[in-house]
Symmetry: C2
Subunit: 354 residues, 2 copies
């Protein structure tokens, strides 16, 4: 683009990653670039090679230098990382922990935002799904994900292995405030806290007390509480009851995979790893993984990655560009649903709708 225009620039880091990551990210970036362009924004992408493939080549996951460099961008568009499980060269979980989780923690992505919608044309495995349209606000930097814990007498019959879930007033407060703000901005204005406070009394107590306190500030938002086990039942029998759900890191991980499944598959589920205080770049990704089994065949559905691009634009304040993408995906879903098409075909169809 010409530098004589008044175009503002979006300086993005792009991490295509492994497996189908690069294929879907290519489409997502094209759609994002066009939608941004219509809003007078120029996208300047910098690609980073990170993931299992890169690790196999270089022996490095995410260096401090790359982390520092990533920090300079306005936001990160992330594909998927993860080794082919048929390869035994990559230690299980290493790539996820040292790249995905490291970024979430290093950049303080305390909001893990996961909208679920049953798009027109999408096929839910539920026979009566109703009008599924909710958002899970999952904590992203605390809970059982902190990596605390360890083993004693590992490998012996006396081994003890612990995992410590760490939850702070600071972390729970900012999470729940974000969720109330989001609920207040939506039509139904309903917020559900999901936890397991009858068993996890300490963490659950902190969540409940914080929730009840902040609820006073949002009289316009109606609220309820559901134990995580019961939440999986409602997800199955009446998911349309949910508007906004706020929950802990691990419960959010579990519930959002289920939410993806009932909404027609995690092929349409996008995720924002958000630092809502803007002290570091937020990161946007499809919920699905690197899917090595279908990688390289050009058949991966790029719509989750494309929708991640919409979340990115919204986060940076470009609501119109975000909605444009979401409408284009919705139109494509309505026209084609889950019909078999190539990655490029779907990308082109959505692009044409921008």
């Amino acid at each position: 683009m010409s530098d004589t225009t008044d175009t503002r620039t979006l300086d993005l880091a792009v991490i295509p990653g492994d497996g189908i990551g690069p294929e879907v990210t290519e489409q997502a970036l094209a759609v994002l670039t066009k939608a941004a362009g219509r809003a007078g924004l120029r996208v300047s992408p910098t690609h980073y090679e990170l993931g299992a493939e890169a690790w196999l080549r270089t022996g490095e996951t995410l260096t401090d230098e790359k982390l520092a460099s990533l920090r300079e961008h306005q936001a990160i568009l992330f594909g998927a990382v993860g080794a082919d499980p048929r390869s035994t060269q990559v230690p299980s979980g290493l790539i996820e922990r040292e790249i995905l989780l490291r970024l979430r923690f290093a950049f303080d992505h305390f909001i893990n935002l996961r909208p679920s919608r049953l798009y027109p044309g999408a096929v839910s495995p539920l026979s009566a799904p109703g009008d599924i349209d909710f958002v899970v606000v999952r904590e992203g930097t605390e809970g059982p994900y902190v990596g605390n814990g360890g083993t004693v007498r590992e490998g012996t019959e006396h081994e003890i292995a612990t995992e410590v879930s760490v939850n702070t007033a600071h972390g729970v407060d900012r999470l729940i405030r974000y969720a109330f703000d989001l609920a207040a901005s939506r039509d139904r204005k309903h917020l559900t806290l999901v936890h397991k406070h009858n068993v996890l009394v300490h963490a659950g107590g902190l969540y409940r007390r914080t929730f009840d306190r902040i609820a006073q500030e949002y009289p316009q938002v109606s609220t309820d509480y559901i134990h995580v086990d019961a939440a999986t039942i409602y997800m199955t029998t009446d998911p349309a009851r949910f508007d906004v759900i706020v929950t802990d890191n691990l419960f959010g991980d579990i519930l959002t995979d289920q939410a993806g499944a009932i909404s027609g598959g995690i092929g349409y589920a996008a995720c924002g790893n958000i630092n809502a205080e803007f002290t570091a770049p937020s990161m946007f990704e499809p919920v699905h993984g690197s899917a090595p089994d279908i990688a390289g065949r050009g058949i991966a559905d790029p719509r989750a990655a494309i929708l991640a691009g919409a979340l990115l634009l919204r986060h940076l304040g470009h609501e119109d560009a975000a909605s444009t993408i979401e409408s284009a995906v919705e139109d494509d879903m309505r026209d084609h649903g889950a019909e078999q098409r190539s990655t490029a075909d779907i990308g082109r169809a959505v692009l044409a709708g921008i």
Copy 2:
């Protein structure tokens, strides 16, 4: 019954509990008594008043005396405990922790056994559920349920709340052995480990290493591993793939509620809290709770409680009596499915099939 016969006696503790607990337990006990009788067994039940109602009357949950007395029985038939959430007199979670969880820990119920079946006549909310017939072997005495953890600076903006998941070689070993034995006894002979070892590396590592080691002893059992988040997807898209699942206490709690829902509702889900070393009585209960909203109206479905009776008989070695009950419930399901009938009508119909 006459004491001149050679009838053996089943000395059972019965804890009807709260809400619909007493209603469904009455039917379960009647069915169990008849099925046992046909197998030449006399049932001698001793009723214990425990639960929220009893707490409101006496201020006691489960005294050491009652615990000692319960220990003397061969097994426990448990209804459901839990306060009416409309009452604010009972501290949330107190009854569950001080009765249900206390019994599981005191009597070392390390196997929490939860079969899921889509009975003929039952209506799954999934449009293509397939032939659901699996068992979840949930750990019952470790993991995040141990009550470790606490709060620091509670109620201040500097509060930290922790929960510690404690897992031992002893606990994981006996759990996984039980699951392999169960899988080896079934037609499909397939065992799935569910955990989240990519994030919970310490606990997950102990589970995986133990699983891989014991698998060597069961070459006839095929195995796989699924992360808990992905497991909720398979539960939705292809639950028939599961045969036996072995998992941790919290993951088992979550997955079995989902399993109940996809199998037509937790109205048909029974649970064995099993001490497989027989050092204390095991306890059998419906997975559903006390359902205060429908209590006292005689409309609760007693089939989950009745099926818990079958698990009890099987645990005590009375396989024929157990199968008789399961067949009678299956026949009733085939004839009536989820049709609206009273608790007593369902009980009578199942009883007639014994």
